[in-house]
């Protein structure tokens, strides 16, 4: 069997790079988690776990990140949620529901639980104290 031709391989590389670049801005734990609020939802046993990290300053969300151990749809929805949360006041963030996330990202019905998990992780982060160093 032949290996992928050069043009096909380049397209794949560009697609994956584009996805990974967006992911790096929105996903993964913060480099220095001190001061961030961290919330967890789901479990490995349920084969779905999503963590939310929030940098809250003066009652508003300066930055947000998610960690995702879930499907590709969950990853997309988490990226959307990060972009939505940037600059939002806490009160607005508290009003974001899984249903709204699912509708905004056109999640298929089978993935709606992922959106609920994102909501749960966000609420847990909003309720958490800032992470301490040491």
């Amino acid at each position: 069997m032949s290996t992928a031709s050069q043009p096909c391989q380049n397209w794949l590389e560009r697609w994956r790079t584009a996805v990974d670049d967006v992911d790096k801005e929105s996903l993964g734990s913060p480099d220095d988690p001190v001061g961030w609020q961290h919330g967890v939802a789901g479990s490995v046993r349920d084969n779905r776990r999503i963590d939310c990290w929030l940098e809250v300053v003066d009652g508003g969300i300066r930055a947000a990140r998610f960690e995702v151990f879930a499907s590709d749809e969950a990853r997309r929805a988490a990226v959307w949620t990060v972009q939505w949360l940037q600059g939002q006041a806490i009160a607005q963030a508290e009003g974001l529901t899984g249903l709204a996330i699912a509708e905004a990202t056109n999640l298929p019905d089978a993935s709606r639980s992922d959106a609920l998990c994102i909501e749960d992780a966000l609420r847990a982060a909003l309720a958490a104290p800032p992470t301490e160093g040491g």
Binding site: M1, S2, D20, G28, R45, N47, E67, S71, R75
Partner: protein, 406 residues
């Protein structure tokens, strides 16, 4: 058609060997043995001779000298004929034995056929396997009694490449007076198989697993074994499996099996497989699903901290398997569950299966791709973060023990 990435799914099927294709072509053409081997005229008798030659090739390759070869559409049919054909024959002859034993990791074709025997008054017991996928002789021994009609064990597991200790299991089965069926679909043509020395009563084969044509298989059975047909119609194959024999396909199976097993090629594949395993292991958090001395052509690994759905999505353009092609089911496989892999880890398993045309450059390609995609998924995974921070895999996945990492 877009160019494809290297093929790493030889356990699902193999390309047709050009020599086999040529042999089949010679049979099919006007000057060849294309006639119906059941026809009582010179052309039919030539075709029958070609069929008998293929039968001899099969008998010779698996040392089944006094055995009969019944041609089928593939190993699925062979497995059904072995199990349900024997069960039905038992009932007709008023035999008392009513239990069937199979390893819990057997192919769906074996499990489903054995479960179907339930409607005929037979009970199925699935025997647990060890964490490395092997059926321990002690486990089999504890289950055997004089009510066991048949034991079915796969030579090589299609998902993990685990090679069952047939030489240790066979004497126990014979001592209990049960029939011994070997599903050799994945092992024939890849590893030596000696039906006579093992005392196997029935052996299932499938041509497309060893560079033969698709749609043809065989059930090789000892002359003493009684089987009832599953299909009814013409009198071909002594009525055991009626239907016009596909001479070209049968010739193809015989040729392919005769060409397939090659010690030098086996060692080459072992070397490639081990290189693949070692290079993937360098990623860390890689669980090997199977034994170190498994079949040369299969490597099944799970990537800790990676979500199965996301992994399948990233690797969708690769010719690998995420579970048996035959099962067609999503989620953790019954084979990995039987090996006590937690579902979330089993869901992140990938089967790489090598073959005659796999090259070192293919290994380079697949390692680079998989490493890159696994790294990307781990970079955003809270589960991998915790594992990297020192949390034990067994704690993360909620199990008592996990096999060693590669």
């Amino acid at each position: 058609m877009p160019a494809m990435t290297p093929y790493f799914d030889y356990a699902a099927t193999t390309p047709l060997d050009p020599r086999v294709e040529a042999a089949m072509g010679r049979v099919s053409s006007l000057g060849g043995d294309f006639a119906n081997p059941s026809s009582d005229h010179p052309a039919g008798r030539l075709a029958a001779t070609a069929v008998e030659r293929a039968s001899e090739q099969v008998r010779r390759c698996i040392n089944a000298v006094d055995y009969r070869v019944t041609w089928t559409s593939g190993a699925t049919e062979s497995n059904n004929l072995a199990i349900l054909g024997h069960v039905t024959a038992q009932l007709r002859r008023g035999r008392e034995r009513r239990r069937l034993l199979v390893a819990a990791t057997e192919h769906a074709a074996v499990l489903a056929a054995a479960q179907a025997a339930d409607a005929l008054g037979f009970s199925l017991e699935q025997l647990p396997v060890e964490a490395d996928g092997r059926l321990a002789p002690a486990t089999l021994d504890a289950a055997l009694d004089d009510d066991v009609a048949l034991v079915s064990v796969g030579h090589v597991n299609n998902e993990t490449g685990v090679v069952q200790p047939l030489a240790s299991l066979a004497p126990l089965i014979q001592a209990a007076g049960a029939l011994f069926h070997i599903d050799a679909a994945q092992g024939a043509g890849r590893l030596p198989l000696d039906a006579s020395t093992l005392g196997a009563d029935l052996v299932s084969l499938s041509a497309h697993k060893f560079y033969g044509p698709k749609g043809i298989g065989a059930l090789v059975h000892h002359a003493n074994v009684r089987l009832a047909p599953l299909l009814h119609g013409g009198g071909q194959q002594q009525g055991l499996r009626p239907g016009t024999l596909p001479v070209a396909s049968i010739v193809g199976l015989g040729e392919a099996l005769a060409l397939a097993d090659d010690e030098v090629e086996r060692e080459r594949q072992v070397s490639l497989r081990d290189a693949l395993r070692d290079r993937l292991a360098a990623l860390g958090g890689v669980v090997v699903n199977g034994a170190v001395d498994g079949s040369p052509h299969v490597l099944n690994v799970a990537f800790a901290g990676v979500h199965g759905d996301a992994l399948r999505s990233r690797l969708a353009d690769l010719n690998v398997s995420f579970g048996s092609a035959c099962s067609g089911r999503a989620g953790a496989s019954h084979v990995l569950r039987a090996m006590a892999r937690p579902d979330a880890l089993a869901d992140a398993a990938v089967r790489f299966s090598l073959g005659r045309f796999t090259t070192p450059a293919d290994i380079d390609f697949i390692v680079e791709r998989v490493a890159s995609d696994v790294a990307a998924l781990r970079a955003i995974s809270p589960v991998w973060r915790e594992i990297r921070a020192g949390r034990k895999l067994s704690d993360v996945y909620g199990v008592t023990t996990l096999p060693e990492l590669a």
